[in-house]
Symmetry: C2
């Protein structure tokens, strides 16, 4: 039984959240629903994500089950900056990461993991345009050109869609490769990005 | 200016909705936010998606802007069956598809498109395990082994994650290949599915 907790906040990027959410919950469905995934926010008000989708949190910082996996998404730069100056958020991330088996982030969620402490002295991935900016903050190594980076129990991915690959890797690590492959098959994760070639219309 | 409308309902699959949503909204962001994407439901109550995420609709069937693109997601089989027997839903899909430039579906959304009429006599994609079942309903051709299928202004994709590729194709068709490539770069859509090989742990 694995409990996944995803932090959500105003300005969080929708696919940073829902890519891993779909992987974790579909994984549970293929395991007789023994796992749990929850969305955690500072309070129970609807969260307005970066592109305008409004999502209801399941739990608050003070009232959520113990987590095996913490996931911190990225989002609007202005909101990430604001959260990096919010002691309640940083304290929760630091405390919850320490109590979880895995501390994970997608995209600019890596900035929150750095501000809160868990990624100090570690190797991480983040959104490509902000790799230099994250490294300039000090006491962190940003790995370029890796879709996701595993450093001990710290797991981080590049931008937005990369959270899907990271989450698939994690369920394979937790529950086996065959299970991860079964989930990939279930969500038909056989990507076919368009326009990789230039051909006549 | 393109207006995208995504149908949401209890039991809709989260990534069916949010994959295209992220693509459409990120596309608008790269176009000075001239486009609009909205979530449309039968009423304004929170929608509980198939894996438990609760999302707030932006509009109801009776109160939404004219759409250029309609998207119908898939979801829990029991819910899809129920919607296929709901005249209000079928009538809205039929009417809205007729008034839109593009009628699109992800996964088992293709069953709703068939029940409502827009895909009768056309070629479509759907979730792999249900291809035979959809074709058995008659007056429709299910294309196997195509990530998404374009038949006139009817666009349909395979299961869950395939909606991302379909949406990327559509924004390229609407706003140019270079734009679609820019959006792919922005959401770092360079998929790297894990466990495609078997190597020592």
């Amino acid at each position: 039984m694995t409990t996944y907790g995803i932090l959500i906040f105003d300005g969080a990027e929708e696919l940073d959240i829902v890519g891993p959410w779909e992987v974790f919950t579909f994984s549970s469905r293929r395991r007789d629903r023994v796992d749990t995934a929850v969305l955690i926010a500072q309070n129970l008000d609807p969260v307005k994500c970066n592109q305008g989708m409004r999502v209801l949190p399941d739990h608050t910082f003070d009232d959520h089950p113990p987590l095996d996996v913490l996931l911190v998404p990225g989002g609007a730069h202005s909101r990430i900056e604001a959260l990096m100056a919010d002691p309640a958020v940083l304290d929760w991330i630091k405390r919850t990461a320490a109590q979880s088996d895995w501390a994970t982030s997608v995209c600019t969620g890596a900035f929150l993991m750095h501000a809160a402490g868990p990624s100090r002295g570690r190797r991480v991935a983040t959104e490509r345009p902000l790799e230099d900016e994250l490294e300039a903050r000090g006491d962190i190594t940003v790995v370029r050109d890796a879709r996701y980076v595993v450093d001990g129990n710290l797991l981080s991915s590049q931008g937005v869609s990369a959270g899907i690959d990271m989450a698939l890797w994690l369920i394979g690590r937790l529950h086996g490769r065959d299970h991860a492959r079964d989930v990939m098959s279930g969500i038909q994760y056989e990507p076919a990005p368009p326009y990789l070639a230039d051909e006549p219309l």
